[in-house]
Structure formats: structure tokens, C-alpha cells
Amino acid sequence: MTRFVGRRLLQALVTIFAVVLIAFVFGRLAGSPAAQLLPENATQEQRDALNAELGFDRPVIVQFGDYLGGLLRGDFQNSYRETGTSSMALVAERLPVSLHLGLVGLAFALVLAFGAVLIVQYTGSRILRSTVLSVGSVRASIPDFFFGLLLVLTLSVHLGWLPSLGNSAPLSVLMPALTIGTGQFVVYTRLLDNSMSLEGASDYVRTARARGEGRAFIVFREVLPNAILPVLTLAGINLGAFLGGLVLIENVFAWPGLGQLIVGSVYARDFPVVQSGMIVVAALFVAANLLVDLVQGVLDPRVRLA
């Protein structure tokens, strides 16, 4: 167990290092931030001075070494735009806002998907299954940003039921989370339904039926614990795409989260903020996958040995 966690932590460090390296190098390739930070009529001397101050006059490798050294001391560098503020502080301020949206959205997706699949599996209704899957597919074939706009136009502009943009009211989270949740719905529905149908045909289900078990026990207690395993694995891997999608949703709904901060910082070439944001996103991804593995170990006794 300790060895397992140790190995995973090492993998996590490697992943985060790779992400930082990529963010750093590609950021530098985009040029220096002086043009964005100084007024348009700034002289070449002023630009050189700023570049020297930020260290852009030195070779990239030296800059990277400096940066890594800083990281080890817990210095994530200050934001170029908001001088004097640590980039990590800016990220940390936005992170809970994004997590709030992400978790509510994911909860929508999982509750909807599990609810639908369990009803389909319990009733065994093929009509219900094809209805659920068709509705889910139609929704999934509408891009999230477009679906989000439709929601805003109908629910808030036209009907005025929900606040439209930003995070001004407790109900603000509803529309972006609904966009995320319904977008992910069909992925989890299809996977869980397939998985449950497959497990439902296995020998242990026949054994359970032969000893007189009813349908509810078989669906919930025999099949579900087995069927949930591949869904969990996908949820972990899918999280990367999910975080990427979050950036888009945040921009559509003007949700003041991490995604907005990172996109804004990329445009402004505020590299420290971009890098700190990437570190946090990568750490989230790694942590979620570690959590998935641990949960898998709890649910599947065969994994515990490995």
C-alpha cells in the first residue's frame, strides 16, 4: 500500500514537471510579455529594461532553472499584470469557484446517468433504454457552448427564471452545471448501461437467480458493484477533457473561475499565472486519478492484491 502510494506520488511529480515544462517553453516561444505590459508608445529601452527585470534577457534554460528553484522554495513568481501578487494566490482565489461548478456539473451528470441506467436495468425496458440514449446523444451532439447559449437565451433572457451570467446568486451555478451535466450524461449512461448489461449476463448472476434472489437485489447488489468499475476508470481519464471543457463553459457563462483566469493570462502573456494554473490543473487530474485507483481498490478486492 505504502509502495503503491509512493509510486503514484512519484508519477504525479513527473506528470506535473512535464506540464510545467511544456507551459514554460511554449509560453516563452510566444515571445516576451513586454509588448502587452507596456503602453504602445514605449521605447525600445523601456522594453529592454522590463525584459531584463523579468529575466527574459537570459537563455531559456537558465530562466527555467531559476523558476524550478523558486518552485522548490514555494515561490511561484508574481503575476506580471498584478504586480506584487503571487501567481499562485490568484489561482488559489479562483480554484474554489471552478471546483464548485465542476463538482455540481459532475454530480448532475452522475446522478442523471446512474438514475436513468438503474431504472432501465431494473425495468428491463428496451423502449426506455433507447429513449434515454437517443435524448442523451442528441444533447451530446450539440456543442456545450451552443447549448449553454440556448439555456441562457431561454431560461434567463426569455423566461427570466435564472440569473444569466457570472456568479452573482446561489442559483447562478445551475445553468453552467446543467450544461456540463447533460453534456457528460450520455457518456456515463452508455458506459454504465453496457457494463451492467454485460455483467448481467455473467455466471454469478445466474447463481444468484438460482438461489432465489429478486431483481432489485441482483441489479443493485450483484451487478452494480461490478459494473461500476470500468465507469470509475473512465471518469478518472475523462477528467482531463472535463477540465478542458470547463474552460469553455466558464467563458460562455462568464463564470469567474480558473478557466477564465488561465485564458486571460495566456492572452496577456502573464506566464507565471499560466504556469501556476497548469500546475494546479495537473495536480487535480493526478489527484483525481489517484482517488479513482484507491476507490477501485475498495470496491474490487482483486485490485487490492496488485
Binding site: A201, A208, R211, G212, E213, E222, P301, R302
Partner: protein, 328 residues
């Protein structure tokens, strides 16, 4: 003697378009209290399907399309699911072929055996269930049952798992035990032990048994009566002595000839030429006729399905020439 289980003209199949495809046809047998019947035949002959039909556990799209299944005179065919559920595992229990897959991998073995009790007596207190499971494990020869019942199936060997499955099946003292090739998937060294466990359990509870197997040695050891199945039908039935010492149907003879015994070791093993017909292409006449090497075979074999006819009291075969000889 009152008949415990009566299966009459059982027909199992599925519909393809407007055509009915039968997998099992015209199967009839009775089972008295404590009796044991062995159904033998090669893979795909319909042995397992017959057993599953009794419990109402046919996998889709198979269904019982004809005949009758009665338990103590009560019709099970078409009985509501609730009624069947009350019978499954309580009056009629089943042991399956592959112990590797017949237990749920993510549930503790003890809990799964305990479910056999709880499924029929849901209010049984936990401690009592645990005590009974422990007792069951002792009965089927699992050492240190108290520790072992907390294990998961993958921590047990195949033989141990099959003992657990047998224990689960016997948990409610069923009157009928259906055993579908319970030793086929096991190591040869373990097979004898598992057969012994099955025999002990039967001796202790007096359960009648339908055993499905293609291990003819096993048949001789445990069966009172034997039914030989071919292409979805019984082709010969009788006592073990009738069928083994005086096999009459050409298929039964071929089956016995293909046995490796001490006498024919070293000689080339006998195999019945050809292969059984598929469910789609079963011939109009005797389904075995195309493979039949019997000197009795006539043109009449290819016309009209032969039905089981008594040759001597208690010994029947479905073979047109044999029937003709008896009639003459």
C-alpha cells in the same frame, strides 16, 4: 412412489421470424424423492438447457414452448416469477459448471452463501446467518471456516469455490438438486473430492438429483437412472445397468466405445464420425441417422422422428429399427 419432479414433453426453443427453432424437444423424465438421474451427452445436446428450463432460468431468447414441468404436482411452466423465486434455491437448487465465474468476485464468499438463507428467510438475524454459513462450510469440508468466510472468491481455489457453491445450493435443504457438470472445470485430483462432497450432502439431506455430465465414469458411480441426450432429445433411458451393460441405441454405443478404458489404452481412441446437427439443420428423420454406423440402419431411419419406446421394462430407446424389432 409419489413423483417429486415430472417433466413431460418439454420443448425449449426460440422464434426466428415466424419460425420456431427447438433446442430441446420432447424431453420427459420423472424424479422420485432421493433418486438420482444423470443426463449425458455431448456439448450442445441440450442438457444444460433442460436443467435451466426447470428453474425458469433460460437465457434469452430461449423459452419453454411446450410441455409441462411439475414439482410435487404443481405446474412450474408459466408460473409467476415470484412463485418461481420462492422455489429456486429452496425446493430446487442448482450447482453450475464453472466455479471460477459462478461466484460474484466483489462479494465475500460467506456473504454469498448467507444470501441463500436470507433470500428465503429475510428476517434471519445476522449472527444466526453467520453461524449457519460456518456450519455449511464445515459440512462441505472447508477448514477454518470462520476466517475463510471473510475471503473473496479469488482467494479460493477452484475446488474450494465449488464446495462453496454446493454449500450454497444445499443451504435450504432442497428436495431437488440440479448439478450442471459440477466437476468439468476442476482439476482431476479435485474432481473426486467434489463428487464426494456432493454425495455426502445428498446422503445427509436425502435430496434427489439431476446430474448433467459427460463424465461416464461419474455416471456409473452416482446415478440410479441415466438419460442419453442427442440433438435435443433423449435417445436412450434406463437404469445405469441397462444403459452401460446393454446399450441399445447406436449413439449410446458410440459414446461408450469412445471411452478410454484400461483395456483399450494404447489403441487409437474411438470417435463417432461426423458431428451433431445444428439446431437449424436437424434432419427430419432420426437426428443421429447421418452418423449412424449400426448394421440395423435402414431407409426408414431418415423418415419420421423415432420416439422413446420401451425395449424392456424401464429401458427405452428412440431408434426406429429397434422399435420395429420389439414390435415384431
Amino acid at each position: 412412489m409419489a413423483q417429486l419432479l415430472e417433466v413431460e414433453n418439454l420443448r425449449v426453443g426460440y422464434t426466428e421470424g415466424d419460425r420456431e427453432i427447438a433446442v430441446v424437444e420432447d424431453v420427459s423424465f420423472t424424479l422420485a424423492e432421493g433418486e438420482s438421474l444423470c443426463i449425458v451427452g455431448e456439448s450442445g445436446s441440450g442438457k444444460s438447457v433442460t436443467a435451466l428450463a426447470v428453474l425458469g432460468l433460460l437465457p434469452r431468447p430461449l423459452e419453454v414452448i411446450g410441455g409441462s414441468i411439475r414439482l410435487r404436482g404443481r405446474e412450474l411452466r408459466g408460473a409467476p416469477e415470484k412463485e418461481l423465486r420462492a422455489i429456486r434455491g429452496k425446493d430446487v437448487a442448482m450447482v453450475f459448471q464453472d466455479p471460477m465465474s459462478s461466484l460474484n468476485p466483489v462479494r465475500r464468499v460467506g456473504d454469498q452463501i448467507g444470501r441463500a438463507i436470507l433470500a428465503h428467510r429475510p428476517r434471519t438475524p445476522r449472527a444466526q446467518v453467520r453461524a449457519q454459513v460456518e456450519e455449511i462450510l464445515v459440512r462441505v469440508g472447508i477448514a477454518e471456516p470462520r476466517e475463510r468466510m471473510r475471503s473473496y472468491p479469488h482467494e479460493w481455489s477452484g475446488g474450494m469455490r465449488q464446495r462453496a457453491v454446493i454449500g450454497m445450493a444445499m443451504a435450504n435443504d432442497p428436495a431437488v438438486l440440479l448439478a450442471d457438470e459440477p466437476t468439468t472445470a476442476l482439476d482431476v485430483t479435485v474432481q473426486a473430492q467434489v463428487v464426494q462432497v456432493l454425495a455426502d450432502q445428498r446422503a445427509a439431506t436425502g435430496a434427489a438429483m439431476v446430474m448433467i455430465t459427460h463424465d461416464l465414469g461419474l455416471v456409473a458411480q452416482i446415478a440410479d437412472r441415466v438419460a442419453v441426450m442427442y440433438a435435443g432429445r433423449f435417445v436412450e433411458t434406463g437404469t445405469v445397468w441397462d444403459v452401460f451393460d446393454d446399450p441399445r441405441h447406436p449413439y449410446t454405443r458410440g459414446l461408450l466405445d469412445s471411452l478410454l478404458t484400461a483395456q483399450n489404452l494404447g489403441a487409437r481412441a474411438y470417435a463417432i464420425p461426423g458431428s451433431p446437427p445444428s439446431v437449424h439443420g436437424r434432419p427430419d428423420g432420426c437426428p443421429f441417422a447421418p452418423r449412424c454406423g449400426s448394421p440395423l440402419r435402414t431407409d426408414a431411419c431418415a423418415e419420421g422422428r423415432p420416439t422413446l419406446e420401451l425395449l424392456t421394462p424401464g429401458h427405452a430407446a428412440a431408434c426406429t429399427p429397434l422399435t420395429a424389432m420389439v414390435d415384431a
